[in-house]
């Protein structure tokens, strides 16, 4: 569900802080620093990183690929491997039987079982391909705003973390109270009223 989808979901952010100049090079450096890593042949469960908007499975931040007019457009790719519990159980039971046959033991201790289960899980994770999720974003550096194309809480949390780590500026999610504080140009007296607001009862 991104920029090219017929139907999109959008979360809005305010970008807090100033980027080091030259801005384009700062952004490029941040993107390269946290470029998404392919984990298909690794025993790693999750990979979170930046990828190119137009080629999400062949990220490349050389050249102007992430610059569109006055905005930056790129994507966050989250790759996850999840071992189904039944698959893990099957391979754990097979590995347990093999271990018992090899060692002549009658049973495995609790500790041995735990270690074996972790080994089996790691082997399965290494063998299985990761499921990718790609979320586009549009960053308006002149307005210090950013649109992130999902409302999914976990993806928004990953974005907030990696954005700060990459560019040294933080993201503030625009929900009603932060929008009022940051975007509405309220006077001091209006801000005071805002702090004390209570839900209105229209049925009095």
């Amino acid at each position: 569900m991104g920029i090219q989808s017929p139907s999109a979901s959008i979360s809005r952010y305010h970008v807090e802080g100033r980027l080091e100049k030259p801005v384009i090079e700062t952004v490029r450096r941040g993107l390269k620093k946290n470029i998404v890593v392919d984990i298909d042949r690794e025993s790693i469960e999750t990979s979170v990183g930046w990828t190119s908007f137009h080629k999400p499975y062949q990220p490349n931040f050389e050249g102007p690929s992430f610059i569109f007019g006055t905005v930056f457009v790129f994507s966050l790719r989250i790759e996850k491997k999840t071992v189904p519990p039944k698959l893990l159980q099957k391979h754990f039971m097979l590995a347990s039987a093999e271990r018992l046959a090899k060692t002549g033991q009658r049973y495995l201790s609790r500790n041995e079982k735990q270690v074996l289960k972790e080994q089996v899980a790691n082997q399965l994770i290494q063998r299985m391909p990761a499921t990718p999720n790609v979320y586009d974003l549009i960053w308006y550096p002149e307005e210090s705003t950013l649109l992130f194309f999902t409302n999914l809480k976990s993806a928004n949390e990953e974005l907030e973390t990696i954005f700060l780590r990459s560019f040294g500026v933080s993201l503030i999610r625009l929900f009603p109270y932060t929008a009022a504080e940051l975007m509405s140009g309220l006077s001091d007296s209006e801000r005071d009223v805002l702090q004390t607001l209570k839900p209105t009862d229209f049925n009095k």
Partner: protein
């Protein structure tokens, strides 16, 4: 409430606006009792009587789908009150890029189409906020809404 007046108010947030209509979904929630009550009204021809009844019991609109018309163009989107998140966001159709050279034009046009509505939401929210934080909220606006609800209740009873 005065429909022309509300359309004028919305038009002050975007002069290109021709009409803003409620779409095919409204969610109302009543949090005043201990248990949360949620009412969802769906469908193009949905009867809003149930929603009005919920409003009268103290529920508030927490999510609404809206149609924004400007010239011959239509934007459709759902807006959540709690987060200001926009979902099911459909802009007027534009041709998908056929080559890498088309991509920049496509993205910039799409960004403009998204931004037009997001700016509209922001400005409308600011207009609301100014009213909500003013003394007129209690003295003028709340009584008007209550009167509107009472008038609607009477109309519903008579029908």
């Amino acid at each position: 409430m005065d429909t022309d007046k509300s359309q004028r108010l919305f038009r002050s947030a975007d002069p290109d606006l021709v009409g803003l209509e409620i779409g095919n979904r409204i969610v109302l929630e009543n949090r005043r009792n201990e248990a949360l009550e949620r009412i969802t009204i769906r469908g193009e021809e949905a009867n809003l009587a149930e929603g009005l009844l919920a409003l009268q019991k103290g529920a508030l609109v927490t999510e609404i789908s809206l149609n924004f018309r400007s010239a011959d163009y239509l934007w459709q989107f759902s807006l959540k009150g709690e987060s200001l998140n926009v979902s099911n966001f459909k802009t007027p159709k534009i041709a998908l890029p056929e080559s890498p050279e088309d991509l920049e034009g496509f993205v910039l046009e799409k960004a403009y189409l998204f931004d037009k509505i997001l700016q509209f939401i922001e400005k409308t929210y600011n207009l609301f906020l100014k009213q909500r934080l003013s003394p007129q909220w209690q003295t003028d606006i709340v009584p008007k809404v209550s009167t509107w609800m009472a008038a609607k209740r009477t109309t519903l009873k008579n029908n």
